[in-house]
Symmetry: C2
């Protein structure tokens, strides 16, 4: 069955999914990249952004799984880029170059209209201005029976969680403390939302947990 899921989402041990002060220089906030140290060395990451020579370990398997059967993506606007407010022009085309690793329709939540942006490799960014439910509905249609992956950032995941619209999360805890930034779960009661840990694997670099709703 088609799922709405969060996957390969990195979190610090003090609960932050991004550092403070996001900017063009620090898209993930200050020290935010440290959250993803488990990912950078993997074959999945190196195939997308490096020399292709990555490690094929358990971290890599989880990374592979995160991309499997994904038919559409949803991103918050701040994950799409550093531009705030109205789109002054169409210059900003995402952080990921002309051939982003999504290879599927990507629905970007924003308050400001913009024409769809067709990229190479099957990625098209659609800008959705009428709320998270509408974005999810469009993403489900586009996914055509495959999963919808909520890519982030933190605030987007929180909104979908609190609305009860997420079926499964794969979180990856990195052994660092950011001290400040965007807390993924502050004030969110996962057991109350129906989630429990259905899978957990500790690797040398990270703690992987899958949170699913009891069915």
């Amino acid at each position: 069955m088609s799922k709405v899921r969060v996957a390969a989402f990195s979190v610090s041990l003090d609960g932050f999914g991004a550092g403070p002060h996001q900017s063009l220089e620090n898209p993930l906030g200050v020290r935010g990249t440290e959250l993803h140290n488990w990912f950078f060395k993997t074959k999945v990451f190196q195939s997308m952004y490096g020399d292709g020579n990555g490690v094929e370990d358990v971290d890599n398997s989880f990374a592979e799984r995160s991309f499997k059967n994904v038919g559409a993506w949803i991103l918050g606007r701040n994950m799409f880029g550093p531009v705030r407010g109205p789109w002054l022009n169409d210059e900003w085309r995402g952080w990921w170059g002309e051939n982003p690793s999504y290879h599927a329709p990507v629905f970007v939540l924003t308050h400001h209209k913009r024409e769809p942006l067709v990229m190479e490799g099957g990625t098209t960014f659609y800008f959705i201005t009428d709320g998270i439910e509408s974005a999810l509905q469009k993403a489900k249609e586009a996914a055509n029976g495959k999963d919808v992956r909520i890519g982030g950032g933190v605030q987007t995941v929180r909104q979908y969680l609190q609305a009860g619209l997420i079926d499964e999360l794969h979180l990856v805890y990195s052994p660092i403390y950011l001290g400040t930034g965007e807390s993924l779960l502050a004030g969110i009661d996962m057991p109350k939302l129906g989630f429990s840990v259905t899978e957990k694997v500790n690797t040398e670099n990270a703690t992987h947990v899958i949170l699913s709703k009891k069915s």
Copy 2:
């Protein structure tokens, strides 16, 4: 050098060091015991409270280390027992039976005076009514060059952390979500307090991290 430290302190992945609704039946709060699943199977725990046949794995090594070189303990009053307000009588003698596993002077933070309580095996509970600094000073004197271990609970650790009085923490993250309870680090910025992760080991059951201050 003598350290003030927290050790073998269990935390859920959503940051809670105890569950909600602590009571005589649930000394660690609802579901709080699940935090310590990594500990129950160890030889250290089984030697203290079980049949002595525990596992001697990495979790056990960390448990052993947590008791090494401890010359005195500090506990919050709620960790000592469920009694709130003035001590009506001396009936409550701790959760741990007549021979508690401390085997050293234990300084209990309280607002209500009570005579010291001498137990078997070297444990004496002293009730300190003039604040955390005073308790620490007394504990340091009693420790006589050994370490002072802040045993808990959560609020006691938070107070000592925020006062800058802790040198080292060994936290143990268990792969569970409590959703509610006592958050260990909410609003506390560990890097800002000078802490960084100086050691980390993932076991099958838990993520052990040592946080130390840069010297």
